[in-house]
Amino acid sequence: MAEIHDTDRSRPVLRTTPRSVGELLREADLQARRMLADVDPATAPARVRAWGEVVEAGAQAWRAIPALGPDRRGVDGDIDTLHDVAVGVHQLLLSHGWPGAGAPDPDAELIVAHLSAAGDLVRARHRPTDTIRADASADLEAARTWIMHSVLAATHAVRRSLEQYQQALTSGRDRARLPAPVAEIGQVRELIRRVDTAEGLARGYLDLRWPATARGEQLQPVQPTTLESAITAWQSNAVRALTASPSVADLALVVRTQLDGAVFASALGGAATHAGLLTPLEGVRMQRALTTFEGSASDLLESLTLLSGRDNTFQARLVEASTQLRLAYRQIAHDGTSLASSDTLRQRVDIGRALTAVQRSLVAGVDLAWRIHDAARDPALRVRAQGAHRIAARSHQPRPSAGWVEAVDLVHNRLIPAPPPVRYTIRGLTQEMTDRAIDAAAASYSTPPRPEPPPGDGLTGRAHQDRQPPSTRLDPPGQGPSR
């Protein structure tokens, strides 16, 4: 039997070759937890390099596991969204040129090996068309839960390494110890936020399942609701559209649909507060964050609509998914020509479940916001000359003598590459919307309950001031990676 060791420690990682899918998945999970025990800024480049492969291997193993029915959309939606985030991070690494080529993290490589072996084993034994016994559903769900937990633990470890790296960049002494090439602090900050999105998605999935399903306990099968299916379809189609050379009109449609989601989330947040699922304070925090997000999305839309003009043609997949999601939102949140009351919402849907779907869509919305930010920076993006001229005219940048837009293009309102002041404006607006999307996602989760203060220990004004401010990280309640 092969014995594999870590690169710099004599700690045995794998004493015997695991034979079953269950053993392989547990080994992957154990390896991911070991990453958590060894967080060092110097490991960040190798870890961030390998992280996408961990998610990729997890997604492939996940998709190899059979579903009970022919429709896999409800089964694969979570891992597909997470995989999309990892692909976005990979594209970001390529565009930043950091950390560049090099050796991946050996711990992460082992996780990839275990997950890939598990996927191969399942594929060798089950054809996609095989009929699965209904009583096997607990085993299938357990396998998916272990995969997601491994991905979560590895993702958490990558984020912590990146945070250490970011901290080291601010210290002259620690910075000198970092392996070359050294990243810019802005690059690292952006990576942390994106990896954080992936962590939020994985946590959201495990909230309802870990550790019960990992132990093989049978939970009631959950059929996706119309809302959940529409949200999943929207996220995956929006990601694909945003990676397929989107037009300005496509970008605007994604922002509009996200804005519609914010209106829905706001209505649902109110109903969740009335139902006691959020405290009044949390309800207000969520509403405020959503209102601010709406403002930033509206500002961005104002510029995007100038740049596309009325020439709005969209990718077919975006139209279909946006239409379905809009109708799903209407069915729940509209009553005649008004928004439905909280009581009506509670009669129509399971508010707890709908809130979970909204929370996850807000977290995934952060990834969409990043993608819009990236797509808007694409030099190949073409905009209508008249809209570009109007935005450029507001710019404080010194204007070239011939203007930012050529007269002939302006007269015929041609599609042109975005001039520098337009790119600068859009970059600022998309960054702002991304920041507000992060705030909205974080604010949609209730904070964990504080322990009851001992009797007679009334808070003084001073004690109140000493309290920690609430976290703004995407930290939903429930299970973090087990240590």
Binding site: L253, S298, T305, R326, H334, S338, R414
Partner: protein, 118 residues
């Protein structure tokens, strides 16, 4: 006999419909804080407008931003703009529109119902 594309006589009206729907969409997002109940119809308006734009050729699409909009449109709400778009479209003869225009007409009718009845 139905035409393959939008008949040249119908293009100005078709463009006006697109302009009204686009106006509804932009107003809906600009006023999302004050009238959140209108945003869904505004999103619906831009989806219908997109289908309508698809029936124009490249040269016509480049002229869309020059299509005039009645001054009264500036005072309209999102539902009113959608209703107005449908009223303008109703004045067109079906003989001037290609078969693919049916989807736009049906979708716009549904949107008007949403805007006025929910």
């Amino acid at each position: 006999m139905r035409t393959k594309g939008i008949h040249e006589q119908a293009v100005p009206v078709w463009m006006e419909v697109i302009a009204l729907l686009t106006e509804a969409a932009d107003l809906g997002s600009a006023q999302v804080g004050r009238h959140p109940q209108h945003h869904s119809v505004a999103l619906g308006a831009v989806l219908v407008a997109g289908k309508a734009v698809n029936l124009l050729d490249q040269e016509q699409r480049a002229r869309l931003d020059q299509a005039p909009l009645a001054a009264s449109a500036a005072a309209m709400s999102v539902p009113e703009l959608v209703v107005e778009a449908e009223r303008v479209l109703r004045g067109l003869s079906f003989d001037l529109l290609p078969p693919a225009a049916s989807e736009v007409i049906i979708d716009l009718g549904d949107l008007v119902w949403e805007a006025t009845h929910g």
